[in-house]
């Protein structure tokens, strides 16, 4: 394998290079997507320990599934499909009540659990309100919103990842955005 300039390659090419044995390509790929994927999982399950567990599981699946990877779609779509499925499996494994308890976690508590008190202190009041509002969203609306803001996906891609209809995704996004904006407006009024 010839030396490559990872930053000039797109995700699909990097994954193909890694499939052919280039570890550097994977490091570049991981560096591009580790933050969004982690935040997507963290906002989804609300527990950093669970998010780390799912996060590792996602990337291990990417590593082990490299031979089956075909660049038929964007790498990020494939990656978030894996993350979505891992999260669904996690939800099925875990007790429903525990998940609901995590979803109902207070924003401050949630942010505290990120393990970075300095970051929490640095967050504005608006950010804390927004984090709490996201956690309070229904799971489907929250997932659609997170895929939108973290992965930058369009309606079609979100529908493909979550295996739902385009209009359903649009509706979920609209409801989620409205609720979050109302939260922000309330915070401004206060």
């Amino acid at each position: 394998m010839l030396p490559l300039m990872p930053s000039k390659l797109n995700d699909q090419d990097l994954m193909l290079h890694y499939r052919d044995g280039d570890a550097l390509a994977f490091e570049e790929l991981y560096g591009r997507h580790k933050g969004p994927v982690y935040r997507y999982l963290l906002r989804q399950c609300g527990n950093p320990a669970n998010a780390e567990e799912i996060f590792q599981e996602v990337w291990i699946k990417v590593i082990r599934g490299r031979d089956k990877y075909r660049p038929l779609a964007k790498f990020s779509t494939w990656l978030y499909q894996i993350a979505h499925n891992c999260f669904i499996d996690f939800v099925r494994r875990q007790d429903r009540n525990a998940l609901n308890a995590a979803s109902n976690t207070e924003p401050d508590e949630l942010l505290t659990e990120t393990g970075n008190p300095e970051r929490v202190a640095a967050l504005s009041q608006t950010g804390q309100k927004l984090a709490g509002a996201i956690a309070a969203l229904p799971q489907e609306q929250r997932e659609a919103f997170l895929l939108r803001v973290e992965g930058g996906f369009g309606l079609e891609e979100i529908a493909s990842i979550t295996d739902t209809g385009r209009e359903t995704v649009k509706s979920r996004l609209r409801y989620a955005t409205r609720k979050l904006r109302e939260t922000l407006e309330d915070n401004c009024h206060e």
Partner: protein, 427 residues
């Protein structure tokens, strides 16, 4: 928020933009370092083992196609061999059917010889007589059906009946020659319609061969008749065999036609191919058709009778015995073989003229195979012993049959009979 769709979209985009800006403040959360280290270590480990895995996969794939081809050959070849080897077994059935049909036909002839002796002399002579008269009379252009229908029925015809021979105008040796020709093929059940057709075919052929410019009509019958006599007197074994083959072909068809009551529209017999079909033949065909129509009136009775023949081995044995008595020894032996094949557990009566050991078993169509025809030396030894026992007539008949099978076989010096003793054969 506006209720208009356009305003709704704008509001949603504006909301999203506002929310997204606020969300960016939360985007700095990253996975813990130990998690990233673990994942990257796993990725490097997997990449390190990538080469060996790829080589192993490629090595396996290299043998995929040859292995598939080998498996296909291994499974397909025995299957094809089995299919082809099982085909001959499936084709043996029609032969047995034809043998059964022939046996039924001969049984029917034998039965009629006994039961309709009075009637047959009248009914049998008429079509043959009519035919041969037409051959003798140049003015009689065509053969007309008899006013009474003149049924050329097989059951009413007996070739060895003196009346027929006399009416036919053939000298005894000639008649015998015809009989010998027809009976020469043991598998040929010489049914009367076939014999008439054969005579007619012979006339047609001789006429075609000798009178190329002559009229199609039977006005030239005298010459044809002389040609016919030449053919019959030729004594050529080859000619006899050819005629026998032709007659056999048509006899089989005639037998099948009568037994099965074949519907109209049946194609012309194979033996007629290559010969000119003239008006006499057409007339004869119409005569046969008339006879066939008459027979169809008695279809129910005939069918039941044939059915009873199929299940009555005693009558078959009686017919075989008659064949044996009439000198058709080889035919009788083969019929007995067919009979014993069909009824393997049937015990022959004590006073039966043949024994089970006399039966010849084998394929009905393989006339010239060693499976059916006795070996020449064995056969000649039997004939010599027969002559030494004083059974001269039987030995001469056997010798004639022997020369039909082995026409060029030299007789031993010490053989009690000569080649001239072989013919004529008294039936």
């Amino acid at each position: 928020m506006s209720d208009k769709p356009g305003n709704k979209a704008d509001a949603w985009l504006e909301d999203e933009s506002t929310v997204s800006r606020a969300y960016r403040e939360l985007q700095n959360t990253e996975p813990p370092a130990h998690v990233s280290d673990h994942i990257l270590a796993e990725a490097r480990r997997a990449a390190a083992s990538q080469d060996s895995t790829v080589i192993r996969v490629q090595h396996w794939r290299k043998w995929t196609m040859p292995a598939a081809l080998a498996a296909t050959v291994v499974f397909a070849v025995p299957l094809v061999v089995r299919v082809f080897t099982s085909v001959p077994t499936d084709f043996e059935t029609p032969t047995v059917t034809m043998t059964d049909m022939k046996t039924e036909a001969e049984v029917e002839v034998g039965e009629k010889l006994d039961t309709n002796a009075g009637e047959r002399s009248t009914r049998a002579v008429m079509p043959a007589d009519e035919l041969l008269k037409s051959l003798n009379a140049p003015q009689q252009a065509t053969l007309q059906p008899d006013a009474a229908g003149a049924p050329v029925a097989r059951e009413s015809f007996s070739a060895d009946e003196p009346a027929v021979k006399a009416a036919s105008g053939l000298a005894a040796p000639q008649a015998q020659s015809v009989e010998e020709t027809l009976a020469g093929d043991d598998e040929y059940a010489a049914t009367p319609p076939a014999r008439i057709e054969q005579s007619e075919l012979r006339d047609s052929r001789s006429e075609t061969a000798n009178r190329e410019n002559a009229d199609d009509d039977y006005a030239a019958t005298p010459q044809a008749r002389s040609d016919q006599s030449e053919l019959r007197d030729s004594g050529s074994e080859t000619a006899n065999w050819e005629d026998a083959d032709e007659a056999k072909l048509y006899a089989v068809e005639s037998t099948a036609e009568i037994v099965q009551q074949e519907p109209p529209g049946r194609p012309e017999p194979v033996a007629a191919e290559g010969f000119r079909v003239n008006r006499s033949r057409s007339a004869l065909t119409s005569t046969l058709a008339q006879a066939r129509a008459d027979r169809e009136q008695d279809t129910t009775t005939k069918s039941s009778r044939l059915s009873s023949f199929r299940t009555d081995p005693d009558q078959i044995l009686e017919t075989i015995a008659k064949l044996h008595e009439q000198g058709y020894v080889l035919t009788a032996r083969r019929k007995l073989g067919s009979f014993l094949t069909q009824y393997p557990d049937y015990e022959l009566p004590d006073d039966y003229p043949m024994q089970a050991s006399d039966a010849i078993f084998g394929s009905s169509s393989a006339i010239d195979t060693q499976e059916i025809v006795p070996e020449a030396e064995t056969w000649l030894r039997d004939i010599a012993q027969m002559a030494q026992r004083g059974e001269i007539d039987q030995a001469r008949i056997q010798l004639a049959e022997f020369f039909q099978i082995y026409p060029d076989y030299p007789l031993p010096v010490e053989f009690p009979l000569t080649r001239d003793d072989a013919a004529p054969i008294e039936r």
